[in-house]
Each structure stands twice: as C-alpha cells, then as structure tokens.
C-alpha cells in the first residue's frame, strides 16, 4: 500500500535475507525490508549488530547468504557483473573507514565516481571544485588524502559519495569524526539530496542525530530488523503509518 500510494517502486527490497561470514552463524536472519523511493532512514543497532553488513548488500559489495535482495528492482543474485556496475553508479557510499585512495589527491578521490563513468574532464573539474569548497576543503584540493585529518577525510568521503547525485545514498557513521558545527551542515546536505529524490540510509550511533532529524529508524537487534517511526504525528503522516 505504501509504495502504491507514492506511485513508485521500492529502491531496495529484501526478503528472508540471511547473512553469515564463512561457516559462522548468521549475523542477520530473516530480514524483510522495503525502502520506497525518496525515503530517508536511520540505521541503528549496537556495535557488531550488522549495520555495515546490511549496508554492504545495499551497495552491492556482498550477496546475501540466503533470501533475495533487489536494488533498483534488480535481483542482485541474477544480475550480470557489468549491470551490477551500472547499478553501483547510481549509489553513493560513505564507508565507516572512508576507504579513500590515500595516494591520490582530495580532488582525484572525489573525481573518481565521475571518471569511472567516463565524464568529460572539464565538467569533472567544475563539479569537484565546487563540492570541495562546499565541504570547506578547497585548501586541501591537491593534498594527498593520507595527509588529512580524520574529519577532513570523512568530508572527502562524503563529497565522493554525493558527487554524481546518486539515486541511493548509503552512509556508514558519516558524522562520527567531524566537528559539531560541521555535522549539521553535512546532515543538511543529505536532507537536501533527499528532497531532490535521493533515497538515503544513514547508519549512526548518535541519538542526537536521530532525535534532531525525525526520520524512521531501522533498528538491528538479535539478528533481526525492526522499524521505528518517529512519534511526531506530522511525520507519522508523512510516512503513512
């Protein structure tokens, strides 16, 4: 009903999904999930609950051990490698550990998603410079990211994730290392993108963040997933609860 009311398909769907590493026990079991286009969710749970694991299926770095995962309507178990690559180009990811290419400059790191899909170098320069000055890193454009601080790296990672205006943005603890004054600015960036139609999932430990922005919350507990909706009634309405 929810999705039909919005007239859209779900960006992500999971059915009976289980994940295990090697021969170990399942760390997530029977996950059932549907994220409508244009939705914004927080992802919470204790350390080790499986937030990163769940996200990694969404950004197509991992297949489920069982069950089906569909991203942009494509079952990832039955999608050709090259088509998976095309799907990934529509997804922006902020990794918990940043995963920047530390031998490259801030500029080249942020330019990466654009170069991978063969964008014109002039256009790349324009976009990257613009975004880097927006995250207040224009001083460091040509510095290799190895020389940057944790917070600076995180902002680069975020810039890289949003540079190609993704349809799906997945962020793993994106504001963990940045100063208190820049965190709201970055959150605002995510919200702005969301308003433009990007579906967003943000894994976080920060209760403050969750309370400041009253978005529904995917909570991982005991290998399962529960969805909590914010108590605010207008938001309840917004999310058709």
């Amino acid at each position: 009903m929810i999705t039909q009311a919005r007239g859209n398909t779900n960006i992500i769907e999971m059915q009976n999904v289980g994940i295990r590493y090697g021969q170990g026990p399942e760390i997530l079991s029977d996950i059932r999930l549907a994220l409508p286009k244009g939705s914004f969710h927080f992802l919470t749970g204790k350390s080790g609950a499986g937030k990163t694991s769940l996200l990694s299926m969404m950004y197509l770095a991992q297949k489920p051990s069982r069950g089906t995962v569909s991203v942009f309507g494509k079952d990832i178990n039955f999608t050709h490698r090259d088509n998976l690559a095309m799907l990934r180009r529509r997804i922006g990811v902020v990794f918990q550990d940043f995963r920047l290419l530390d031998h490259l400059s801030a500029f080249d790191n942020v330019a990466l998603p654009l170069r991978v899909c063969g964008m014109d170098e002039r256009e790349i320069r324009k976009r990257v410079n613009e975004l880097l000055s927006w995250v207040e890193l224009d001083r460091h454009i040509l510095d290799t990211t190895a020389t940057l601080s944790g917070g600076e790296k995180q902002r680069i990672a975020i810039a890289r994730a949003v540079i190609n205006r993704p349809d799906l943005l997945l962020a793993d603890e994106p504001t963990g290392n940045v100063d208190n004054d820049i965190a709201p600015k970055l959150m605002k960036l995510f919200v702005e993108l969301n308003k433009l139609g990007t579906t967003v999932v943000i894994a976080t430990h920060s209760e403050k963040l969750i309370n400041d922005f009253a978005f529904p919350r995917l909570h991982l507990q005991n290998r399962g997933l529960r969805i909590y909706y914010p108590s605010d009634s207008s938001l309840m309405e917004k999310y058709h609860v």
């Binding site: 400059s105 080249d108 990466l112 890289r160």
Partner: protein, 304 residues
C-alpha cells in the same frame, strides 16, 4: 582556485615503479633479446633454404660409372645395361617426370673441352649420365633415393652436390624447428610472467579495486589500466632487448662469414626480415597488453 589540471594524477592503481615493474622489464628485455636472435636465425635459415631448394628442385643427375673390363665392347654393353636398369627404376620413382640418358653426342660435347673432337666413347671408360626431371612439388628423399639406386645398380650414383645439399637442408629444417620451439617457449614464458605478476598485483591492490568497483567501475576500466601499464613495460623492455640484440646479430653474422663464405652469404637478411625484427618491441607490447587485459578480466570475474 588552484589549477587542478596541472597536478592532478590519474593513476588510481599505483602500478608504476616497484620491483614488479623492474622484474617484468628485465624479463621482457631478455625475452625479446633471445627472440630477436633466434628469429634472425630462423629468417637466415629460411633465406638459405629457399636458395638451396631452388638449386635442388627441378632436376638432378644420375651417374652410371663405367664397368671395368678389358673387352671394351663388353664393358660398353654392360654399362648400357646398368643404365637401362637404372632408367627403368627411375621412371617408377614418385615425383620423377622424365628420365633421359644423355646421347653419345651430348657426352662427347661434355668432354670436348678437355679431350677434343673425334673421341670414340667405346674406347674410353666414360660414365653415362641420366638427366632426371622432377615435379616441382615432389617430396623426394634424396638420401633414400641414393641408397635405392645403389641397390638397383652398384654402378649408379646420385650427383654428390645435390645429396650433400639435401642433407644440409634437412639439418637446416631441424634447426629451424628447434628455433621455432624456442620462439614459442620464450613467448609462453613471457606471457606466463606477465600473467602471474598481474595476478599478484591485483591481489596487492584488491582494496583499491574493491573501491573502484563500488564506484561503479567495470572490469574493463581496471583491465585497461593494467593493459596500458603492461603495454608500456612491454614496449620499453622490447626496445631494450632489441637494442642489445642488433649488435649481437651482426656479431654472429660476421662469425658465420668467417666460417664459410659460400653458404652463409646466402643467409643474408633482407629488408623484410629486418622489418620483422625491428617490429618486435611492438609485438612484445601487444602480447603484454593482451595478456594483462585478459588476466585482469579473468581474475576479476571471480569477485562480486
């Protein structure tokens, strides 16, 4: 705003430098060096062979030694009988189109420069000669033919020069096969080295590759970077190897000339041969690119 176009680096995979590059470059240089020298050998042998084959093809001469008997008449008849027998045999040999004994007049003409006119052949222990025409595509084993001839008639023998040349051709053919094997082996070993270093390198950079994949890079994008890098190493290694090979080839050629001017002078490399040898660095570049590209594609297929 700073000008990012000047300093910006595009090397997402840090493939430059390092021991692997040096190792590959040395391997490729040595490979091209060996390849160039062996190839020049093959090409020289080819040149010799085509010269030799031309002189051996088409015709050959069979000689019937005169039977020794104090009775000239009898000796003559017997010699002619041997010639007949040999003729019969030759006509049935595969590849022989025609076998004609030289007539008395022709023989006389042959010896005329030495012995003058008016010689009566009966009084001379003159060998008889059979001129044999051979089909151009005939594959005649001359050594075998020589043996068969002796079996038919102990007085019959094959022209010595041809026989010797035939043995030489066989030897050269063997050498050529050996050289070709070396060429194939060198190519295979080089491709193998490129295959394994590429695979190792992919493992080394798996974190970067994973990131590139997450950004939506196709395997081709990564394979192209490897192909470009390996192609460069192949070209440089090839040029180095060629640079060392050229003087070596001339040195070997000069040694060969000292041994036996007659035969080896036919072994000169022509302009086409040199063109092939000089294009070896391009060849090693192509092999390196091809191998690296497909190694990456094949290895990455196993990743998600």
């Amino acid at each position: 705003m700073s000008d990012t176009s000047l300093i910006s680096r595009r090397q997402e995979l840090p493939l430059k430098g390092g021991n692997t590059s040096l190792f590959l470059q040395v391997i490729i240089s040595i490979a091209v060096f060996i390849f160039a020298i062996t190839l020049s050998g093959v090409l020289s042998i080819n040149a010799m062979l085509s010269n030799w084959n031309q002189s051996i093809l088409g015709s050959l001469t069979v000689q019937i030694m005169p039977v020794n008997d104090s009775n000239r008449e009898k000796a003559q008849t017997e010699t002619l009988a041997h010639q007949e027998k040999t003729l019969e045999f030759l006509k049935n040999v595969n590849g022989v189109i025609k076998a004609t004994p030289l007539k008395d007049e022709q023989l006389q003409q042959l010896i005329q420069p030495w012995l003058g006119d008016g010689i009566d052949l009966i009084n001379l222990p003159m060998p008889r000669i059979i001129d044999v025409k051979i089909a151009s595509n005939a594959e005649i084993d001359f050594t075998q033919l020589a043996q068969d001839l002796t079996a038919v008639s102990p007085y019959a023998s094959l022209d010595n020069h041809k026989l010797w040349l035939n043995k030489l051709i066989k030897f050269a053919d063997g050498l050529k096969a050996l050289a070709m094997t070396i060429l194939i082996l060198v190519t295979a070993i080089t491709s193998g080295a490129i295959f394994y270093t590429t695979q190792m390198n992919l493992g080394l950079h798996s974190a970067i590759i994973e990131i590139l994949h997450t950004m939506g890079a196709k395997d081709t994008y990564i394979a192209q970077q490897y192909a470009r890098r390996m192609g460069f190493l192949g070209l440089i290694g090839g040029l180095l190897g060629l640079l060392c090979a050229i003087p070596t080839i001339f040195f070997i050629a000069s040694l060969a000339k000292q041994i036996e001017g007659g035969i080896i002078s036919e072994a000169n490399l022509n302009i086409n041969d040199w063109f092939i040898i000089f294009s070896l660095p391009l060849f090693s570049m192509a092999i390196s690119m091809f191998t690296a590209y497909h190694t990456v594609k094949k290895t990455l297929r196993k990743m998600l």
